[in-house]
Amino acid sequence: MRVVALDAAALRLGLAPGLTLADARARVPELAAVDHDPHGDRLWLERIADGCDRWTPMVALDPPDGVTLDITGCVESFTLHTKKSVRPEPVEACPERSRRGLSFSSTVQEERQGPSTPPAASLRTGFDRLSPNGERFDSEALLAADIERRLTAAGLTLRLALADTPEAAQALARFQSLPAADERQAIRRLPIAALRLEEEAETALRRAGLKTLGDLADRPPAPLAARFGEELVAALDRLLGRADSRISPRRALPALLFERRFAEPLARTDDALAVLDDLAREAAVALEERHGGGRRFAGRLYRSDGAVREIAIETGLPTRDPAVPARLFRERIDALADPIDPGFGFDMIRLAVPAIEPLAATQLKLEGGRVAEEAMAALVDRLSIRLGRNRVRRFVAQGTHIPEQQALALPAVDLPDPAPWPQPPAGEPPLRPLHLFDPPQRIAVTMSEVPDGPPLRFRWRRNVHEVARFEGPERIAGEWWRVRVARLPDPPPSVLRQRPGRDAMDCDEEELADPADATPGRPDQPLLTRDYFRVEDVRGRRFWLFRHGLYERETDAPDWYVHGLFA
């Protein structure tokens, strides 16, 4: 067992990651150790990153223990909020400007050790007053201080750094050991480990006597690339700001974002909902200016202790009516399995509209056609939010003759206006059943006239049916152009197992539940032809049966299935 991470107190005692636990215990007998849990650390890091959304929408994880924020253009908005009144402002994606990255790393394990380790913050923002625009750095420090205050309150120990590129910020947060006069100098003093190269390249550099980034920065890049590889030069350029480098944010920037911050946290969910309604009204104004509407609205509730709760809704038609998201947010909250816990209150609430879709102003029809359409769409939205989008379905016809693939059930919110269905042939009774089993259910045919004729008596669900009338066969062959693809993988082991002491007639659908066994297209064999029969028994029940495979040509003992039930 080896030590993975250590807190500041342990580091001061001279312990280092990589040491065996027994060794470390020998040196410091009172060492408290916790099992390493990479998955738990990852989740915790995700939660921290969620909470960081409040400062900037551009947040990236820097696993295992870092978070990088792109605070370009966010500082001004932040100081505006902290210094002046609480005024919401749409934050839009920021075009090219001088980019600023901020990174911090925290030793996650420390948090779990509880009160035994006092949270000792080590904030390192040593480089001041480099830029003529001194005010900007002041506000950056203010932002950094806010980050530190909140995360320290959550029990984390932070190392925070601000720099011009994400890589530089990450390297400074991890490797800076001494304060420096400015950012440039701080970077030059970093050890070469900050480049995050492969072990071999690092050793080679060290052997060549190159220990800090400053040693590398002054040398011409071509010989460096020739000797130590292109990667070294690329990493160096990114770190020094010679090459453009961006973080990839965890979530896409929404088209519109509205937020409201509170000096005093809101302690009631109802109040939070009222704020969301307010934001929806603002969104409606912004959407109207752009002649657009939104189909998704995501509300994010930021709790003062850093937890974030997202509630998202969607509508079938684009909308900008603020009453629609207001109603659907309530519906969503009612349908939540675990209710929203305000805890100590929400101190920031945001509403994001991820995408704007064109929505022209509409005129009401005199006869109310548009109104009816909208009322119907609203009903579908409401039910989709409450039951889940996959439980409210519409059907789309597919161009295939395989019966179970002829219709595709899609969420109704995705499909507000489906195409009309192809017309059935005229003059015929229904040729397709009203209820279709997918997978088909196996039946035991106990009597038939000729081997490839219809069954005269069959047994399904423990009932024997005497066939009075039949029509068929209607032959539906497998799709030969799919056979080759279907042959490739190995067959899955069938779950169909006959219990000892029972014959085939006794098995019913519970035991035959394996779709791979029941449907054609089993990967190990070419698709079998199905001969369908429309069958009516003496009591007037109408079935759609098929024989799976042609006698002798495709199979020796074809199985029979009931595929559907007619009205």
Binding site: A372, L383, R386, L387, R393, R432, H435, F437, R534, G564
Partner: protein, 254 residues
């Protein structure tokens, strides 16, 4: 009858409801049946259809689809509420099958709530939404949530919004409810086409209860998609017991 209607409207006003309008009827196509119903299936009402046996579920579902086809104009939306278990045990509702009955599946929205309580909640919303033409509420067995209050609520909502509600009950016994009509549906042997092929869907229907009109009556009907109407089906030799009922109840059809 007028006096009775006036009295009913007065009571409705006292109860704070809108005075009940006489229902609009959609003719079903079989003369004696339409006469017994006072003109056909009443729109904007709650109708209950019981499958006679578990195996008659598809027949009852088909009958409900046919009534929905008749009751509302062709382009209006139709909602079908089915429980998830029903979708599994009874086979999925097939849009091709609906198209073969004459309903355009493009106007259908299928709801698959996980349990009867959610289903009835969703049904309450659906029935209150006026643009919906017809709603089929399919419930299996007898869920405790479906009591007299629930059905009364649906019936009132249907009257107010104008949605025709067809409550389809499979694997359940008829029980008192607020429905306008109550039926028992069983599949019947069809009239064979040439070469002894199964013909147009045929049903034995049994009018168990009718609000404000005499109950009772049995018919055997066939559905013809092209005419979008029911037709009398000949009874080959079988004798059906005469229905007990008032003067307007249908006599034995033969």
């Amino acid at each position: 009858m007028d006096a009775l209607c006036a009295l009913r409207n007065r009571i409705a006003r006292i109860e704070g409801r809108r005075p009940q309008d006489a229902p609009v009827h959609a003719p079903l196509g079989v003369e004696s049946l339409d006469r017994a119903l006072g003109g056909g299936l009443a729109r904007a009402r709650l109708h209950e259809l019981f499958a006679a046996e578990l195996a008659d579920g598809p027949a009852a579902a088909g009958f409900a689809a046919m009534l929905a086809r008749l009751a509302v104009p062709p382009a209006t939306p139709l909602l079908w509420l089915r429980q998830e278990d029903a979708e599994r045990a009874g086979g999925g509702l097939s849009p091709s099958g609906l198209a073969q009955i004459g309903l355009d599946p493009a106007r259908l929205v299928l709801l698959v709530p996980p349990d009867p309580v959610q289903l009835l909640r969703a049904a309450a919303d659906v029935v209150r939404c006026a643009p919906v033409g017809a709603a089929v509420i399919e419930l299996w067995q007898r869920p405790p949530a479906l009591d007299l209050t629930a059905s009364r609520r649906l019936a009132v909502a249907a009257e107010e919004s104008g949605v025709t509600v067809l409550m389809l009950r499979v694997d359940a016994d008829p029980a008192p409810s607020a429905a306008h009509t109550r039926w028992r549906i069983a599949s019947a042997p069809s009239t064979a086409l040439e070469a002894d092929a199964p013909g147009h869907p045929a049903f034995d229907i049994d009018l168990l209860r009718q609000r404000g009109r005499p109950d009772g009556g049995r018919w055997r009907v066939e559905w013809h998609r092209e005419q979008a109407a029911f037709r009398d089906a000949p009874l080959p030799g079988a004798v059906v017991p005469a229905a007990a009922g008032g003067p307007e109840a249908a006599p034995l059809r033969a």
